[in-house]
């Protein structure tokens, strides 16, 4: 079973790695998940978790995952916005944890937004 004592070991391992990690600059990509009542009820929690996992798994630098309140289109929740300086904001709607790997791979890593998941794909 996990104990507080184990945390010491994790701390030491992480500290060594942290010294070589560069700071995230102004050109960082922000992934923002709507986490108000509407987003949570629609399933935003697993979506946010999936983004955190995927970004960590790929060891992506300069990418932050954060949360925000109600974006104002509750019927399309879970909503995720990808904000990158110098580029137009991309809004993904009706997100699921399954769609996350594709968004990270195509959009965050390769720079091609996944058009079929975005708000503009809604008729």
């Amino acid at each position: 079973m996990k104990t507080l004592a184990e945390l010491m070991a994790i701390k030491e391992a992480t500290k060594q790695r942290m010294t070589v990690r560069e700071d995230t600059g102004d050109d960082a990509i922000r992934i923002v998940v709507g986490m108000a009542t509407c987003g949570i009820a629609a399933g935003a929690r697993p979506v946010l978790n999936a983004f955190v996992d995927e970004v960590a798994k790929r060891n992506l630098k300069g990418v932050t995952v954060s949360q925000t309140g109600c974006i104002g289109m509750c019927q399309y929740e879970p909503i995720v916005e990808v904000i990158q300086p110098g580029k137009e904001k991309v809004t993904y709607v009706k997100m699921t944890a399954d769609k996350v790997a594709k968004v990270v791979n195509d959009h965050i890593v390769n720079g091609n937004p996944v058009a079929e998941y975005t708000v503009s794909a809604i008729k």
């Binding site: 701390k11 929690r45 978790n49």
Partner: protein, 180 residues
């Protein structure tokens, strides 16, 4: 909401919006008389008596307390449909305490769900706040306090991936033991 753990996540967001620096989440279950208490207590800015009344009524709220909206009414409904109740104690400048009482043997009882994911998310997304998570089952108790964890971690942030994963397992495993 499909899980009560999502209501907890939602109500705790209100505490964060209210500027709380310490948020305590209590889940206390008695398996012999089938009762469950879920409490969210904070030291945020608090509410006046009028505001407390308005957060319970989803239609009265809309403009003045938009940040609160449907969260409390949904949580109240989840409690009342089991034969339980919801109470809010709040004082301006002191903080707010929300308590929901459930009857777990009711057919309309919503499962507790993945509370460890909720707590992990609250802690790692709000590293500038402190959280105390207290889970009680009959006489057994588990407490997770971020002040204690931060003291061990020193300058290693709580939202480091390895720490976050440890946190999730730490809470899940120690909570499971309570039910054995």
């Amino acid at each position: 909401m499909r899980e009560l753990s999502l209501n907890i996540l939602d109500i705790a967001q209100n505490s964060i919006s209210a500027g709380a620096s310490l948020i305590t989440i209590e889940v206390s279950e008695n398996t012999t008389d089938y009762t469950l208490l879920i409490g969210i207590y904070d030291n945020g800015k608090g509410m006046s008596e009028e505001q407390v009344k308005s957060v319970i009524d989803p239609f009265f709220t809309t403009r003045t307390t938009r940040k609160v909206g449907m969260g409390i009414p949904l949580f109240k409904m989840a409690a009342e449909q089991t034969g339980g109740s919801l109470e809010i104690k709040s004082e301006l400048g002191v903080g707010t305490e929300v308590r929901a009482y459930f009857k777990t043997d009711s057919v309309d009882f919503t499962p507790l769900g993945d509370v460890s994911s909720t707590i992990q998310m609250l802690i790692t997304m709000n590293t500038d706040r402190d959280f105390v998570y207290k889970h009680i089952v009959n006489e057994k108790e588990f407490v997770c306090d971020t002040r204690e964890i931060k003291a061990i971690l020193g300058d290693v942030p709580l939202d480091t991936y390895e720490v976050s994963q440890w946190l999730k397992d730490f809470i899940t495993e120690n909570t499971e033991v309570l039910y054995k």
